[in-house]
Symmetry: C2
């Protein structure tokens, strides 16, 4: 590879790399292509009353999952759920998936069966048809890529870019649990490596471990919003941590936001576990990642309605862009939100 | 992974594994899903006069490509072309792709630019919009997954299953060149490894090396067939070798076939290279793989018309299923066709 210049990937980071990649592809060749890179899913318009939605996720062993504690069945389930989450974030409903898998001969046929059992369970839960894929060999670890196809009525599609000043910011479920579940699993792995006869200390940790190993996409919220007649003004799924997603939403909507520390939904077990592990709970909640909850903004008129959804918490509101994105603590101190995203490179 | 039974992947092979995987997913949940696993692309019917087509391909460094002789730009181009080929095999036209990529920090930003330059060139040539993807890190080699979306008029869709007795079997382009190109590249790699100062011996091999490194999908033939008013009765792309694809087509159409050794289109440079490398040219042509040409059957009434396409060769005809799939040599001997496919596991 004789290139005169060498720029390291970590100089750009993931989002910098995506910005660089997408530039030459911004000019579209097909009128059907309505939205390309830059939201949770791409959008195609075949001229009917709905759009089709398209997203894809690549999972690599040793980067996204560790088979020493990730059961293969859960891995299959999670791989589907994280894709479903991208469709939900467009206010859409998923319908079909394609699954590419690469395995080495250290995997048996039965091991592959387990992965597909998890995929089948997710297909059942989210009402998906598995319509295609690719199976191949890997020299090293397991590789899974899932592509998903969904639909959304044109008048209900929700982009990242629609948030307006004074809209209310909401999140589903709770924050930080998946990250803390991962820390517990990593701790137990180290204990096990040091002493294979040690009993794993997972008592009482079911919730956070489950959030890490077998997260659910919030299509239930998409249905609830629809029933209540609420169309969010903007929406994004929380995969890289709340702070990072708020910054995406603010950037693309050209707004700012303020969120309140004491409004962030955090489960007791997450507080306790953070304490036990000596981790600042706010960092877990803001930057933990892998929550797969939804972050969305709604017009103030919908505030009463959204309160009827048990599993949604208002956490702040949208401001003008010059106010930036900030966190206000209980004591009234204001901090700028900072994206961690992942910087694996 | 405490499983009581362990069946090795090589006991099943790729096609056995696919058969096993697809069974639990045959019941469809959405009326839009018209065709799932089992053809070159999946088919969705959104109730208009066309179907959408969906396919995906996973490419792994060290399995599908070797960066010691595969330029990154060509890799990007080829990754797109092999997906386009799947859409062409349904008699369809591709429109959009999603690209997932995993790289380690041994790759520079400039190296990734080269991959996307190849992707962009392919998008230009095949008129594709890149609408999404995923970028992530890899602990080991480069991983590329492309998903493609195409369209085909309902009355023109071509499945593997439509071949009928007495139809004529045709192939586009020529056979075996990509495989022989790979053998030459492998030979030169070994020479280079033994003596880094040796000059690579690629003179006169441009065509076969190009077929391996930068194959083209035959959308041109899809357009030509359309212009001539020919709808193939069945079609498949030649990725695993002609013999394997004929067997797929025969199985799914419930027919047999006979092809004639002296009708197989093979370039002079392929003959010469096979001789030079001491490889039986017929094995290269029948089982070489990666030709990315189209194999299709047409009704006899279309025979005169298809002869107008310069780059299409009739190679035999469809028989009843009990005759199986056979090759007839110049001397009149008849051999059963055998699938090699790949058996990497």
């Amino acid at each position: 590879m004789p290139t005169t210049q060498r720029t390291e990937l970590n100089q750009l980071g993931e989002f910098g790399l995506i910005d660089r990649i997408k530039q030459p592809f911004e000019q579209k060749q097909h009128t059907e292509t309505r939205k390309g890179i830059g939201d949770d899913a791409a959008v195609i318009d075949y001229g009917q009353d709905f759009y089709t939605l398209h997203s894809t996720d690549l999972l690599i062993e040793g980067v996204h999952f560790d088979l020493s504690y990730m059961p293969l069945k859960y891995l299959g389930y999670k791989a589907v759920a994280v894709n479903v989450s991208d469709i939900a974030a467009m206010n859409g409903i998923p319908q079909q998936i394609l699954v590419s898998i690469a395995v080495s001969n250290r995997f048996s046929v039965e091991a592959i069966d387990e992965i597909y059992e998890g995929i089948a369970e997710a297909c059942q839960n989210y009402r998906l048809d598995l319509i295609g894929g690719d199976t191949t060999t890997s020299r090293a670890g397991l590789v899974l890529n899932i592509s998903i196809i969904g639909k959304v009525k044109k008048n209900k599609i929700t982009y990242r870019s629609g948030a307006r000043e004074n809209d209310i910011l909401c999140v589903t479920g709770d924050l930080g649990a998946a990250y803390l579940g991962l820390q517990i699993l990593e701790r137990e792995k180290q204990v096990f490596l040091a002493n294979p006869h040690a009993e794993p200390q997972l008592e009482g940790k079911d919730y956070i471990v489950q959030k890490q190993l077998k997260p659910e996409a919030r299509t239930d919220i998409v249905y609830e919003l629809d029933e209540l007649g609420i169309i969010p003004t903007a929406m994004i799924d929380i995969s890289d941590g709340l702070a990072s997603e708020i910054l995406h939403l603010c950037k693309q909507s050209n707004v700012g936001a303020v969120i309140f520390e004491d409004k962030l939904p955090i489960e007791d077990i997450s507080w306790l576990t953070a304490q036990e592990l000596n981790l600042p709970i706010m960092t877990c909640a803001l930057n933990g990642g892998e929550d797969y909850e939804l972050l969305f903004s709604i017009a103030q008129k919908d505030f009463e309605k959204v309160n009827k959804i048990a599993d949604v918490s208002p956490i702040g509101y949208i401001t003008s862009a010059d106010k930036k994105a900030t966190l206000r603590t209980k004591s009234g101190t204001v901090y700028p939100l900072e994206a961690q995203g992942w910087k694996h490179f």
